[in-house]
């Protein structure tokens, strides 16, 4: 088992339809591949944590990082884990038309995210909170317009 966390930028703002399409595609594939986790989206800011068997997680990250819908993919963590921390895979964002989404499976409003489970180390939980902050800003009830730092830097080797 392992998990990966990354930050990225959508190449152009994603519409409700785009997000719905991504949700449908990913939900379906993730169930098949035993992938769970959570994706945050707001105003072009993207962050995702996903976990599962290494032989599924690594190729998925390859596919995601090549996906033309976003760029500046910055992998933050890629480490083995003892157990899953997320029971399902879900997506959190502010739809323009929330009524169509609220009842949708695997969809969450950003301020309705459940608390992080204790199975995450504090360092990993801190990481998820920081990327959540980077995507949604200090007040997740409000749509948040800002870009995370660019150009992306990397930890030196």
């Amino acid at each position: 088992m392992k998990h990966i966390v990354y930050l990225s930028r959508a190449v152009r703002p994603m519409t409700d339809t785009d997000l719905q399409a991504l949700l449908d595609q990913s939900r379906h594939d993730n169930v098949r591949h035993g992938i769970t986790g959570v994706l945050f989206y707001s105003h072009g800011n993207i962050a995702q944590l996903f976990e599962g068997p290494a032989e599924m997680v690594d190729p998925l990250f390859d596919r995601i990082s090549r996906d033309g819908r976003h760029s500046h993919v910055r992998k933050l963590v890629d480490t083995p884990i003892a157990a899953r921390s997320f029971p399902t895979w879900s997506m959190a964002f502010h739809p323009l038309e929330p009524s169509g989404f609220t009842a949708l499976e695997n969809f969450l409003l950003p301020h309705q995210l459940p608390p992080l489970p204790p199975s995450l180390t504090i360092a990993d939980a801190l990481l998820v909170e920081l990327v959540q902050l980077a995507v949604f800003g200090p007040d997740p009830t409000q749509p948040f317009e800002h870009r995370h730092s660019d150009p992306p830097r990397t930890l030196d080797a």
Binding site: L76, I122, A134, P138, H148, S149, D156
Partner: protein, 621 residues
């Protein structure tokens, strides 16, 4: 005349054919095509009677051709109605004079070929050429005025064009051999790389994008960005590379300076035995210095963007993580003392600080951690010592109190016995009577000292006494009442003036001790030549601080520093006067313990004034 079969062919020829006979130029044969030009009923009429669609210019020329007898061709002759109308047609008209058997001019043979299509094409081409020339001119203005230089390079690497700016920039003459000269103008350190990259791109048919230093007219090398793309017409190989050259010197120097600054910063950070790290605007660590890695025994990878929190004492991690998220969200400094795990598993106290700074490439967090284990240990040692001292002090107080208490009873007993003794025993020797008085004095003194000692310890315990609003007039009267026997005995006059500040928030017991001591002091150190006069005045300073002034006309004393007079336990100035020296020490202790202070000024032989500032200037409630 043509044979009938031949005539058939002529009539259907896809060119106009007609004969004009005789000097009057009368239409003889006119085929179908020519009828379009001159009309269907032209045969037998003269040219002047039937000009048809033929242009005037041609009509005028035909008689002359007849006379001259030489062939004539009019190219793209516009025939038809309105000039440039849609029906306008163009013909190449060939005129051939012919002679009769006698060799005399007999007529003209007209051949008209419709060239309207060709003419239209030609005109379109002409218009196109005009537009092209305009576009070309615009392009040239653009390329030659834009701040970037443009150039063209052939697949073989020949430079076939550079815009004029390049000449101006390099100072090269327009006659320069571009292909030969341009590599020589590239900085020697960049030359091979640039040539290699451009050769490779031309060989593989791709564009290029590189930076190099180009020598300017004044000999200075300036950083340029060179970009080019091949011009391709598939399926052929590229025919040329067109590119642009932009000066990027300033940007380059700026980012170079930033890189250098960053490198210098990292060098410094890597050289010091302190924990140093930097994070992105999102609070994700991008850099840990060497010391952090060697201290923790972890690599940058193992630490990761948030791994530092895992080095903290387990119970402190969650709170520190919350603090950090809060700092990142608000931009506030992060600061705290935490225990950090060293590679060998030992936790050491560190002061950790992080601050958000903007270094031109967006906000970043800079963090530092200093080992304060030694200070921490020292602090703990000091705390232990302080606790021990406080305990010892308390024990001492208790001991003194108990001792003075316990000694008082035997002293009283002693005094009782002594009085009994002096009543019942008769001394004959007058010296012995004197000794008796001395023993009496010593006993009184001993009792007074014990009482004062007990009082000192007592006031120390009273420091936490509850405070209340005191009516000063009443309070002072009460105290004076206690001192009445002495006042009467010495014929002293005591005046009270509390108009300015009639109330005071203070502990009643402490107030009593202070005033009682000061007034009895004033009485005790009275001048032998005059009855004591004491003034008690309560007032407020400009800052609203309540003060009690006690002024006397007594012996006075020597004061080193009126704002900070030193009153030491058992130190006495007037040894000729009875007293234990406890009084002033007590006053000062009480007042300073409540945040106030005591001032004194005095002139020996004239008198003394004490001012009691009850509270600290800022500590006003």
């Amino acid at each position: 005349m043509p044979a009938p079969r031949f005539e058939q062919l002529l009539r259907r020829l896809q060119a106009g054919v007609a004969t004009l006979e005789g000097p009057e130029l009368r239409y003889g044969f006119v085929n179908e095509q020519m009828q379009v030009l001159v009309g269907a009923n032209a045969e037998g009429r003269t040219l002047t009677e039937q000009p048809g669609l033929l242009p005037t210019a041609l009509l005028e020329v035909l008689p002359k051709v007849y006379e001259a007898g030489t062939p004539y061709t009019a190219r793209a002759c516009a025939c038809g109605p309105a000039a440039d109308g849609p029906d306008r047609r163009y013909f190449d008209v060939m005129v051939d004079p012919y002679a009769d058997e006698a060799g005399e001019p007999a007529g003209l043979l007209l051949l008209a070929v419709d060239v309207s299509e060709q003419e239209a094409t030609r005109q379109r081409a002409h218009e196109l050429a005009l537009t092209t020339r305009q576009l070309d001119a615009r392009l040239r203005v653009l390329t030659e005025t834009a701040p970037l230089f443009t150039y063209t390079m052939s697949p073989e690497g020949e430079v076939t064009y550079v815009s004029p700016q390049w000449y101006r920039f390099t100072g090269q003459p327009e006659t320069a051999d571009l292909t030969a000269i341009w590599p020589l103008l590239v900085h020697p350190d960049d030359r091979l790389r640039v040539l290699f990259e451009s050769d490779t791109a031309r060989r593989t048919g791709t564009g290029w994008n590189y930076e190099y230093r180009l020598r300017r007219y004044d000999g200075q090398y300036r950083w340029m960005l060179s970009r080019a793309l091949p011009e391709v017409h598939p399926p052929d190989q590229p025919v040329a590379w067109h590119g642009a050259l932009t000066e990027v010197h300033l940007q380059r120097e700026l980012s170079e300076a930033r890189r250098r600054g960053e490198a210098e910063l990292r060098f410094l950070a890597d050289s010091i035995p302190e924990l140093v790290w930097t994070t992105s605007a999102e609070g994700l660590v991008e850099y840990y210095n060497h010391y952090t890695k060697s201290y923790s025994g972890l690599t940058t990878e193992e630490l990761g963007p948030t791994g530092w929190v895992g080095l903290l004492y387990p119970e402190e991690q969650a709170a520190a993580a919350r603090r950090w998220v809060q700092s990142v969200a608000s931009g506030e400094d992060f600061e705290g003392e935490y225990r950090l795990r060293r590679a060998d598993g030992v936790y050491r106290w560190h002061t950790i600080r992080a601050r958000r700074l903007n270094d031109g490439s967006g906000p970043r967090w800079f963090g530092a951690g200093s080992d304060v284990e030694e200070q921490h240990r020292l602090r703990q040692v000091l705390q232990t010592q302080y606790d021990e001292l406080a305990r010892a002090h308390h024990n001492l107080d208790t001991f003194v109190y108990a001792a003075s208490h316990d000694l008082r009873q035997p002293t009283l007993n002693l005094r009782g016995l002594f009085e009994e003794l002096s009543r019942s025993v008769r001394f004959t020797d007058p010296e012995q009577a004197l000794m008796l008085r001395m023993v009496d004095t010593a006993l009184t003194h001993l009792d007074g000292t014990l009482a004062d000692l007990a009082a000192t310890v007592q006031t120390q315990r009273q420091q936490q006494e509850p405070v209340e609003v005191l009516d000063l007039a009443l309070g002072l009267e009460e105290i004076l009442l206690g001192l009445r026997p002495q006042i009467v005995l010495q014929g002293a006059s005591v005046e009270i003036d509390v108009q300015e500040a009639p109330g005071l928030l203070y502990s009643r017991a402490n107030f009593r001790s202070v005033v009682h001591n000061l007034v009895s002091n004033a009485l005790k150190f009275a001048h032998p030549m005059r009855p004591p006069q004491v003034l008690l005045r309560s007032y407020l300073t400009a800052q609203g601080q309540p003060v009690l002034e006690v002024r006397d006309n007594g012996l006075g004393m020597h004061v080193d520093d009126p704002h900070n007079p030193a009153f030491r336990l058992f130190s006495r100035q007037h040894t000729e006067v009875e007293g234990t020296g406890v009084g002033l020490y007590l006053v000062q202790r009480i007042v300073t313990s409540q945040g106030g202070h005591v001032e004194a000024d005095s002139t020996p032989g004239v008198g003394t004034t004490f001012r009691v500032f009850w509270a600290a200037p800022t500590g006003l409630e």
